[in-house]
């Protein structure tokens, strides 16, 4: 076997490995892309127009499955359908002047049959309002389902590393 043949073999091997890696991590990449998209959609710049806010709220709700179960913690109510979630997101975003969302500490577990997944993450939000600014960080567990090849969020649970005593209200974001 000469050098040219060896090089060819190496290239074919590398391409096969690359394709296999891409194939086996496709679900992970799609879920991460959706999370990044959600982060960008929830974030808001000062230049955003009202119609843009409506479109974004609709796009945000499209990342969720039907039915859905979303618990974001105080002061938000629980959401059981995409329409009420979209309405609340639109309302919340319209109050804020700017929103900057950062996602950290992602941990993803995909089920062996590649039809469901669980992701733990910490979401940090910095919000400017007309009367000042707010900053909050919360942990969530996202449950995902694969629907016609698309990964959608079916459940959002609030994880509390620091468990607030019962009866103690929170007025965070």
């Amino acid at each position: 076997m000469n050098t040219r043949q060896l090089l060819k073999l190496f290239l074919i091997g590398a391409l096969t490995l690359g394709a296999a890696a891409a194939w086996f991590t496709r679900d992970q990449r799609q879920i991460n892309r959706t999370v990044n998209r959600l982060r960008d959609l929830v974030s808001k710049s000062q230049e955003e127009k009202a119609i843009g806010g409506l479109i974004r709220a609709k796009e945000i709700s499209n990342c969720f499955a039907t039915p859905v179960d979303v618990c974001l913690g105080d002061p938000w109510p629980d959401f059981k359908d995409r329409d009420s979630l979209a309405a609340a997101v639109h309302h919340g975003r319209s109050i804020a002047q700017t929103i900057q969302v950062t996602i950290r500490n992602r941990t993803l577990n995909i089920s062996p049959d590649h039809q469901s997944a669980t992701m733990d993450l910490a979401a940090e939000a910095a919000v400017t309002l007309s009367g000042g600014s707010l900053q909050d960080i919360r942990e969530f567990r996202l449950r995902w389902v694969k629907n016609e090849g698309q990964w959608l969020i079916s459940k959002v649970e609030l994880k509390e590393t620091i468990r607030r005593p019962d009866g103690l209200e929170s007025t965070g974001l």
Binding site: R104, N105, D120, Q135, T161, I162, R163, R164, P165, L168
Partner: protein, 167 residues
């Protein structure tokens, strides 16, 4: 006879490049081990721990402090969230099995007032009594000027307490 390396080269990579490379790799590896597993740099974000830890200040957490022993009251600890990139920094106020409450800003442990000499002011927090389970600690920030409903405080499991702030 080989020419002597220039002064600039001697300063940057030394007279023996191979030895310099080995030393650089050794230092890099040591720094990686120290700052990832032993002494974790922590940048404070937020005013929850003021005045002890100012917003934006840099601190170091000893990640092996609780390998052999348990957290003590008064320790400033780092608490893991889903991972280690973002963590809580809080002070341990209550130990497992204790009853913790706040009355008009004063911390009470098992019904008795507790001294907190690290505080700038005691504020006006009021919280009903909470009984900690056998693996739970009560943590809160030092900034009592923040209203209790806007402050993250409560019980945390032992396994989430990763390390102690050294300085």
């Amino acid at each position: 006879m080989t020419p002597k390396p220039s002064w600039l080269r001697r300063i940057v990579i030394g007279e023996n490049p191979r030895r310099t490379l080995r030393a650089a790799l050794g230092i890099g590896l040591l720094a990686l081990v120290v700052f990832r597993f032993l002494l974790l740099p922590v940048r404070v974000q937020g005013a929850s721990m003021e005045p002890t830890c100012r917003n934006g200040s840099l601190h170091f957490a000893c990640m092996i402090a609780y390998m052999m022993k348990d957290p003590k009251r008064g320790d400033i600890v780092v608490i893991s969230m889903s991972g280690r990139r973002t963590m809580y920094m809080k002070r341990v106020l209550g130990l497992p099995g204790e009853r913790i409450s706040f009355e008009a800003g004063r911390l009470r442990i098992n019904g008795q007032p507790a001294a907190e000499d690290y505080l700038a002011g005691c504020g006006s927090w009021t919280m009903p009594e909470l009984l900690l389970q056998s693996d739970e600690y009560f943590v809160a920030g030092d900034n009592r000027a923040v209203e209790i409903d806007r402050h993250t405080l409560g019980s945390v499991h032992r396994k989430n307490i990763l390390g102690r702030i050294l300085f």
